[in-house]
Symmetry: C2
Subunit: 416 residues, 2 copies
């Protein structure tokens, strides 16, 4: 284990103890200070970001990744605005979720407390550095950040700014720290840093997340891939179905809540698929279909087994004709990633069945899968979408970054 990890782990643990009972007004004052500091230091941040951009260009990084890496004045303003909004969200810490008396008169309360120290492992997206710092601090957690090496200078500049603001507001710098050693050994050691970390949150592509799942001994909140389906029932409003699929696929194809697959009831395939094909073609979406779907489509190539498993994250969609909702649900059960699944139907019984039988973080009737998002759900912010079943499923907002403890009030009770 590297010296840097041990040293930062210790500072984080001390800072987490401090943060666990610091008052809300203090946390909010810091966040407003950080928001202002970001706006003030835009030129300095851009200078450091430009170093990363130049190195990435020299390495031949593709345009999509370069775009995620790049900061602009408008983007920094948006990040600062996010921090300001976080200061306005309710503080989850201290809330007593339930309180009751037991049989011998103990009053038992279940109270929200911070998780402690969170490790964030992410790719070359500098905005995550500030988003994670703000959300972790507001929820009373210390955070150790390990961003992608391609964003090294940007992350360093942003973390220094955060730490200067921490000092200015009398918070320990252990509240937010960046691992500067971006070697593979160090990130592997971070995944096993149980002595100092309470939870790891990986954010990024499937490969990053799989690596964390394989190597971590620290408990992980898995943020997941989304192979999301829309099932168009025989009793669907076809126009509604078309709008929901186009929105699901096209409004932002690169995100995990985008619709990747369409399952169509055989009784309406003949009417629906030509309608859908026309809209998809207008949006320049490539269509793949099973044999039956292709008989109703003018273009489109045959979908393979791999297609049903793939999260395209781009302008491709695969369509399958199914005999009924049983087949649709079985297909989702087999190929879905338990992220977001939708049915379009006017039938009450089919809507109930879909809600009951489909196992996913978010199960929709007559709405776009794109709504699976902390902001859309009304959580005010999010740090990712969890597709695991332990601790949190769906958007990870401030409440989801907390644990609980039982606080018990007695008058000398002893157990029989």
């Amino acid at each position: 284990m590297t010296e840097e990890l041990i040293q930062k782990g210790k500072l984080a643990k001390e800072a987490a103890h401090f943060l666990s009972f610091v008052e809300t007004t203090e946390k909010n004052r810091f966040l407003l200070g950080l928001s202002a500091a970001l706006l003030e230091k835009i030129p300095e941040i851009l200078t450091e970001n430009e170093k990363d951009i130049q190195i990435a260009k020299a390495k031949g990084m593709n345009a999509n990744l370069l775009d995620r890496l790049r900061l602009t004045p408008a983007r920094i303003e948006a990040i600062a605005e996010g921090v300001r909004q976080t200061s306005q969200l309710p503080d989850p810490i201290g809330e007593v979720l339930q309180m009751w008396k037991n049989e011998v008169g103990l009053q038992i309360g279940k109270q929200r407390v911070p998780l402690g120290v969170i490790g964030m492992i992410y790719e070359a997206r500098p905005n995550v550095t500030i988003d994670a710092a703000a959300l972790c601090l507001k929820s009373g957690n210390a955070v150790i950040l390990r961003g992608g090496s391609d964003a090294f200078y940007s992350n360093l500049a942003l973390t220094k700014l955060v730490q200067a603001t921490l000092k200015a507001y009398q918070f320990p710098i252990g509240c937010v720290q960046l691992i500067e050693d971006t070697s593979r050994e160090t990130v592997l050691a971070l995944m096993k840093l149980n002595r100092y970390l309470d939870v790891l949150i990986p954010r990024g592509g499937a490969q990053l997340i799989q690596s964390v799942l394989n190597h971590a001994t620290v408990p992980v909140i898995e943020t997941g891939t989304g192979n999301c389906h829309v099932y168009v029932d025989q009793h669907a409003d076809l126009e509604m179905a078309e709008k929901i699929i186009i929105n699901g696929k096209c409004s932002r194809p690169s995100v995990c809540n985008a619709t990747e697959k369409v399952l169509v009831h055989e009784k309406i395939a003949k009417d629906f698929l030509p309608l859908l094909e026309k809209s998809l073609q207008q949006e320049q979406v490539e269509i793949r279909g099973d044999e039956r779907a292709l008989t109703y489509l003018q273009q489109g190539k045959l979908a393979t087994e791999e297609d049903w498993q793939t999260e395209y994250l781009g302008p491709i969609i695969a369509i399958k004709v199914v005999a009924d909702s049983d087949e649709a649900i079985a297909h989702i059960h087999q190929y879905g990633t338990k992220h977001s699944e939708a049915i379009v139907t006017k039938d009450y019984g089919e809507s109930r069945k879909f809600h009951r039988q489909v196992d996913a973080a978010a199960v929709y009737v007559n709405a776009s899968t794109r709504f699976t998002d902390g902001f859309e759900f009304g959580f005010g912010a999010e740090i990712g979408i969890s597709t695991q079943k332990l601790h949190v499923r769906g958007p990870i907002g401030l409440n989801e970054l907390t644990s609980t403890k039982y606080i018990i009030f007695g008058e000398g009770q002893i157990r029989e």
Copy 2:
């Protein structure tokens, strides 16, 4: 990966799908059937248990472990009664914890669903086989059991009884299965069976739990060790403090919520320690103390660094004199295992401070640490005490064996 694991994993996954929407009455009918079957088959179960006992005796197993392994008619009756009581507990599945409308009129509900497939890894305590089967099934989860090899014949007999009852009530046998291969390779493979398992719950000693934490890639609910402290404040009712400590230490020394350490404010040490010593001696508890504590005690040897770290699980207690609650809280922060911690005080401010600053699953004012238990908390049953911060902290009852999904009701909403 062994054939047995793959085959049982598949059956468990299918059974979990079935269990996720089977009705409460069906589950309760099965549980009552199982309770009756246990009572009916007492002689057969005892015969198989006797085989384990004979093998264990030949191996020289110690009396304490032998006692945990042994079944008697009374113990089987108690297990059957536990199953019957589980049938009477409220079914957590289907409960909608919150429901709200978002800004575009989507109605979003957060509904309890089962975790899926639970892997239980435990030692040679045959009662766990039935307790775990009943609680997992009631909460809609399939379970794969891997009990200690010393209880092989008992576990096999009990699992066969469960599976016969499953068949009789038209439940798939994949609901409750036992891994019959008790080799180390197989248990290691079980810990990495992410394809079929949603969560692992180890139950047993520190060594078993550490092994699972080190090797598992499946998410783990850690059931923990308890190095529990009672801090006796200068404003304590000394008689109450004495009762709370004697109850905490002596009512059942072998369990994780037993009191292991006493911290005494220096201003009352002189009055309190002789009183406490007398009671501890009556209960034949060995006393260890720091230098200051020993000056007030007639007997007792000097506590070492190791003592402060140790969960004795037996008739030993260690006592330290502290300057104030800050020193007590710092000591708990350094040596506690975040299980159960108590203060005895009449002072309002000290009670508030202890509740706020001590980080543990259960933080008591003026009550025995022995209350940290699913039955005492009113949960009706429990499968262990979690000392981790993710997913569940404290007693693991039926609610804690669930996850959630968002069910969303729309009228064609798409995202802007």
